[in-house]
């Protein structure tokens, strides 16, 4: 009885009794969620356009951050370093299309997936070869002071991250659903052959998608790198994106956002209110358990395309 009360009743009472603290936990969860969404977004873009899970997305985040820091250490001003890194990501996209995607056209998805694993190892080694493997501090000038908003204490860096993330996401949503290129991208995602027959050049589309995914990786790299330093473990946040994708659906941009937010808030709240009951560390596995539950009841995710099977 005692345990049941502690698990099912007490945490809710705590939330009710200290609303400001709860708000703080909730909002900081939301802000972390935005960061997860940013990473997940890169996966969604490539999955939409080629039906392949890009294993290298996490390493692309690391690579972008490494390049940015490396350039800044060489004395390049921040704005120029940002532009140069974006250019590097676009060039990377062109090279990937040329040497990796083009020879593998019409192959099974699993083969492309394996190629992305290779890409991940290559990029990791290549990045460290050029920029070294020390932990680096990344500071692009986003303010970090704590601020009080309506009595809730927040980190202004998180707010900036959320704002930038929101703008990026809104831009991508419009891009995908309103513009002719977005339509062409969705067409390629749906059926390669048909897309070719109406005259959509696959090559160009792939370059665009990988470039956009590279730039999203850059933004994610700035945010995560600014928070926890630029180092190898940055590429591991890709694993946090997996449950986000399962929740949101692999093909949905809004899904990546909502999934990220749910997981960000869920793990923070679970950690703070339920963590003490079992000695903490809920934050580390909460997302995966939630993903597992989703796989059981709604495998296509919250916003994924319904799987329609005609028999």
């Amino acid at each position: 009885m005692e345990t049941l009360h502690a698990v099912f009743v007490a945490p809710w009472l705590d939330m009710w009794e200290a609303p400001v603290f709860f708000a703080e936990v909730f909002v900081s969860g939301l802000l972390t969620g935005v960061m997860y969404s940013l990473v997940a977004l890169g996966f969604v873009l490539i999955f939409k356009a080629s039906g392949t899970f890009n294993f290298a997305q996490g390493v692309m985040v690391l690579f972008a951050a490494l390049t940015l820091v490396g350039l800044m250490e060489k004395g390049v001003p921040v704005w120029l370093a940002l532009i140069l890194t974006a250019v590097v990501m676009v060039v990377l996209a062109i090279v990937i299309e040329r040497v990796m995607l083009r020879p593998l056209v019409n192959q099974e998805h699993i083969i492309l997936f394996m190629a992305t694993i290779g890409l991940a190892f290559f990029l990791e080694g290549f990045g460290e070869l050029i920029w070294g493997s020390n932990v680096k501090r990344l500071d692009v000038g986003i303010p970090e002071e704590p601020v009080m908003i309506k009595g809730v204490l927040l980190n202004s860096f998180d707010i900036w991250a959320a704002a930038i993330g929101a703008i990026l996401v809104a831009g991508l949503a419009v891009f995908f659903h309103k513009t002719p290129i977005g339509r062409a991208l969705r067409a390629v995602a749906d059926d390669h052959q048909a897309a070719l027959s109406v005259g959509i050049p696959l090559k160009t589309i792939w370059i665009i998608v990988w470039s956009v995914a590279g730039i999203v990786a850059l933004v994610a790299g700035i945010m995560w790198g600014g928070k926890s330093g630029v180092q190898f473990s940055l590429s591991l946040i890709a694993f946090k994106a997996l449950p986000v994708l399962i929740l949101g659906g692999f093909t949905s941009v809004p899904g990546a956002i909502v999934g990220g937010l749910i997981i960000g808030v869920g793990e923070k709240v679970a950690e703070v209110y339920w963590g003490p009951l079992i000695g903490g560390a809920i934050e580390n596995w909460f997302a995966y358990v939630l993903a597992l539950v989703f796989l059981l009841f709604r495998p296509q995710g919250l916003f994924g395309e319904r799987i329609i099977e005609r028999v």
Binding site: T179, P180, R186, D191, A195, S197, V198, I200
Partner: protein, 268 residues
């Protein structure tokens, strides 16, 4: 049903597509063996033959999915060795597929809009920004697509995802997408397969109307002999990758070899 053989209203022009000695093989399998025929501007040309005769392979060569090992394909006076599908599309060749290849998650309207892809003049950057001229251009294309939707009588399913539509309607949407490109040469791979009589009659009417109103040259593969004899001007018969006969529906119908290889088997 209207009869396309008369040709009194329609103008049949010079040769738009010439296929000469085309051979194609996959490993040891000879899909096409020195096939030669031509298509004149404005005509409806049927390709018939038993299953596995190489009909779809022929279409795939014409629109650049396959690259024949031997022979030449001359389109609008230009001989070509190899061509990619999107280049063929850019030169005015549009097609439909035997197993419908629509973008299933997208609406009817979006599917047909993709057919306008090559007609969009603004470059990618403009399109991405989607402001001013790019937006105006999109409106013009939308207006054109609405005409096609009216023409094919699919107004009611404009906003529905095509994956959920019945088969016959999907075929019609696919035709719409091909028409949106305003093609000079339209390749239809079994446009009436799997349809009931009423749907077939509708489809025949659309094919004839397209040919009639827009002067589009049409090459179609079809199994229904009644349909083929009714709507086509000239017929190519393939069997085991070889050209068996070539002529008007009446010539072909009377050809002994064709009767043996194909018609006899179907109509005995």
């Amino acid at each position: 049903m209207a009869n396309g053989n008369g040709g009194n209203r329609r103008r049949i022009g010079g040769v738009i597509l010439n296929v000469e000695d085309v051979s194609l093989s996959f490993g040891g399998v000879q899909a096409l063996e020195q096939v030669t025929f031509s298509v004149r501007e404005g005509e409806i040309r049927a390709i018939i033959g038993p299953n596995g005769a190489g009909k779809s392979s022929m279409l795939n060569c014409i629109n650049g999915f396959y690259h024949p090992q031997g022979g030449t394909i001359t389109y609008k006076g230009n001989k070509r060795k190899q061509m990619r599908p999107h280049e063929a599309a850019a030169q005015g060749i549009a097609r439909t597929f035997q197993n419908i290849a629509l973008f299933k998650g997208m609406t009817t309207l979006d599917n047909i809009m993709t057919g306008r892809n090559l007609k969009m003049r603004r470059n990618f950057l403009w399109q991405a920004l989607y402001i001013g001229p790019a937006r105006r251009e999109e409106m013009e294309h939308r207006a054109f697509v609405e005409q096609i939707i009216d023409f094919l009588e699919i107004q009611a399913i404009r906003k529905q995802p095509v994956g959920k539509l019945p088969y016959g309607l999907q075929k019609r949407v696919e035709l719409g997408r091909a028409l949106a490109a305003e093609p000079d040469l339209l390749l239809l791979d079994e446009p009436m397969a799997g349809m009931n009589t009423e749907e077939k009659e509708d489809m025949c009417r659309f094919v004839l109307d397209v040919n009639d109103e827009f002067g589009t040259t049409i090459v179609l593969i079809e199994h229904d002999m009644g349909v083929v004899m009714d709507i086509s001007d000239r017929v190519v018969v393939l069997d085991y990758g070889k050209l068996l006969a070539d002529g008007t529906p009446d010539d072909v119908r009377g050809n002994k070899q064709v009767i043996d290889a194909y018609l006899g088997a179907v109509h005995d």
